[in-house]
Amino acid sequence: MKIIVCVKQVPDTSGKVAVNPDGTLNRASMATITNPDDLNAVEAALALKEQTGAEVIVVSMGPPPAEGMLREIMARGVDRAVLVSAREFGGSDTYATSQILAAAINKIGIEDDDIVMCGRQAIDGDTAQVGPQIAEKLGLPQVSYAADIKKEGDTLTIKRMLEDGYMTIKVKTPCLITCIKELNAPRYMSVDGVFECYAKPYEIFDYNTLKDDPLVDPTTIGLKGSPTNIFKSFTPPQKGVGMMLEGADKATCDKLAGILAAKHMI
């Protein structure tokens, strides 16, 4: 049994956000972190590994420095890592990214008892599209927004969170699950994990590794294969300092009405 976890290196949005003239993020000038929801997926995979003895493989698409992130994830207990990296893959939107990641997962190989896991969405694009698109392209059943996962035999029972409640879904392997932060608390790297992580198997899948997969075609990958175009990107102006009025008496209400009237809001 294998669990393949897709992760993304994202800008640390708690720091400075830099934007290129073309509207894309200037990733090189920003500190990076592992996308937070992806760490929940890693944790879920490691918990299932403890239960089943499954091999956990982490996969990421990105530039070569993403190796550091993948090594840190192996320091948490993941068995091996694959970095999908090539110039041809650059500029991919969610559609093209999911083509490439699905091809990478095909290359690793999906068997009947395997699971693919993703974070719900990345904090840079917030699309929540890549996980579900990978499932479609691999022909796997998918359960998104997982807040609880239980495995018995080949059946997973998953609590799927919705805005106004939750559903409980049973699904058989192989399948794809996207994970939310309520699922678990990601573990820390361990000292032993850190000192072992550079000895663990680490592979790079470049264009040549994946080019024979029908999913990887010049028209479906990279900037050219991406249907999404960015028209405009901007930093929203900061809101002004708010004002708090306290009390439910007539005077306070009159004051509130006066402020709103002065701003022509009523």
Partner: protein, 382 residues
């Protein structure tokens, strides 16, 4: 001289920082106030390999290195002096002498539980009448008539981790006539008949750490628990303290660095005379001096750790690191309180706790005066 950390050391430091910020910092004030030992933190650190960082995996260690251990103590001390000394005393004063001087049987018996943090270790050398003059040991160990067990009598004081430890490395006179050369080391379990712990000391700082007396009343220690050679204990004690000084120097380093960060943050927020405190040149110069002292301390501490890792002589380096880092920590934490003014003197801010915690680093595991004795003796000054 290479001042660069390895990629593993960089990564493990990031892990310590995350752990310290999330798991240790939120408890620091309460541990100090309540004098509470953070057993829950020790359990978490054990699972992450932080209680056996630089020991080989075959004994249950994490397979790291000495510098990674020093950085662990440093990062913990930045936010909590108590948690830092728990790791330092356990690692340097109990795990290290068993690893370095124990037989294969002793290592296999004691190290896996210690290095995984399932059991906590402590070290018993100091006695009411044998502090800096450690050779004046009054605790005795006598082989019983059957030749099976040593019988220990006497008491130890100021034992860090004393009330919570399961395994102790204890020193006792096996041949009084020989003075220093008549001291032996023993591995004592808390369950051994005749062993008990005495009163908990109320302290100025590191108030969450456990400090107590150990009492031996015809305490029965199996003869296979003799650590190292008979009458070879004093050398083990001195070698152990050389290593321990790296841990305490790292604790002092972290305390000072923690105080510098707190002072930088506070002086950028606090406004007096319509200016942020950080805009005053006095503040800027103070912070520059404080940071410089701690940076110098860091080089000394890391150099001593690297030498121990590389099996080079490091006794003088450890003494210099501890002397300098401890005095720097005391100075820097005191200056941090001054920059905070009245607020610094209250328990609303952590710098007064850091100042109290820093003082002990000039005293335990060899006072600053002892470090000067060690350094000058290495210089051949008589």
């Amino acid at each position: 001289m290479d001042f660069h950390l390895t990629r593993e050391q960089e990564m493990v430091r990031k892990m310590y920082r995350e752990f310290a910020e999330t798991e240790v910092k939120p408890l620091a004030e309460e541990l100090d106030e309540e004098e509470r030992f953070p057993m829950e933190t020790v359990e978490k650190m054990g699972k992450l390999g932080m209680m056996g960082i630089y020991f080989p995996k075959q004994y249950g260690g994490a397979g790291g290195d000495v510098l990674s251990y020093a950085m662990c103590v440093e990062e913990l001390a930045k936010v909590c002096g108590t948690t830092a000394v728990i790791v330092s005393a356990h690692t340097s004063l109990c795990c290290a002498p068993i690893f370095e001087h124990g037989t294969e049987e002793q290592k296999m018996k004691y190290l896996p539980d210690l290095l995984s943090g399932k059991k906590i270790g402590a070290f018993g050398l100091t006695e009411p009448n044998a502090g800096t003059d450690a050779s004046g040991q009054q605790t005795t160990a006598v082989l019983d008539e059957a030749g099976e067990n040593y019988i220990l009598n006497g008491s130890k004081c100021f034992i860090t981790n004393g009330t919570v430890a399961d395994t102790f490395v204890v020193f006792a006179m096996t041949d009084k006539k020989l003075g220093n050369h008549g001291i032996s080391a023993f591995i004592v379990e808390k369950s051994f008949p005749g062993f008990s712990v005495g009163k908990h000391e109320k302290k100025m700082g590191i108030r969450g750490s456990s400090t107590c007396d150990l009492i031996f009343e015809d305490c029965v220690v199996p003869k296979e628990n003799l650590l190292g050679k008979l009458n070879g204990g004093f050398k083990i004690a001195m070698m152990t303290l050389d290593g321990g000084r790296i841990g305490i120097a790292a604790q002092a380093l972290g305390l000072g660095e923690g105080a510098v960060s707190e002072a930088i943050k506070y002086t950028q927020e606090r406004v007096q005379f319509k200016k942020r405190l950080s805009q005053f040149q006095n503040t800027q110069f103070q912070l520059a001096d404080m940071h410089t002292r701690m940076q110098a301390a860091q080089y000394l501490v890391y150099a001593a750790a690297m030498k121990k890792q590389n099996h080079e002589p490091y006794s003088m380096d450890a003494a210099m690191a501890k002397l300098f880092a401890a005095e720097a920590a005391s100075d820097v934490t005191r200056r941090a309180v001054q920059l905070f003014g009245g607020y610094g003197y209250t328990r609303e801010y952590p710098v007064e706790r850091m100042m109290r915690d820093a003082k002990i680093t000039e005293i335990y595991e060899g006072t600053s005066e002892v470090q000067r004795m060690v350094i000058s003796s290495h210089l051949g000054v008589k």
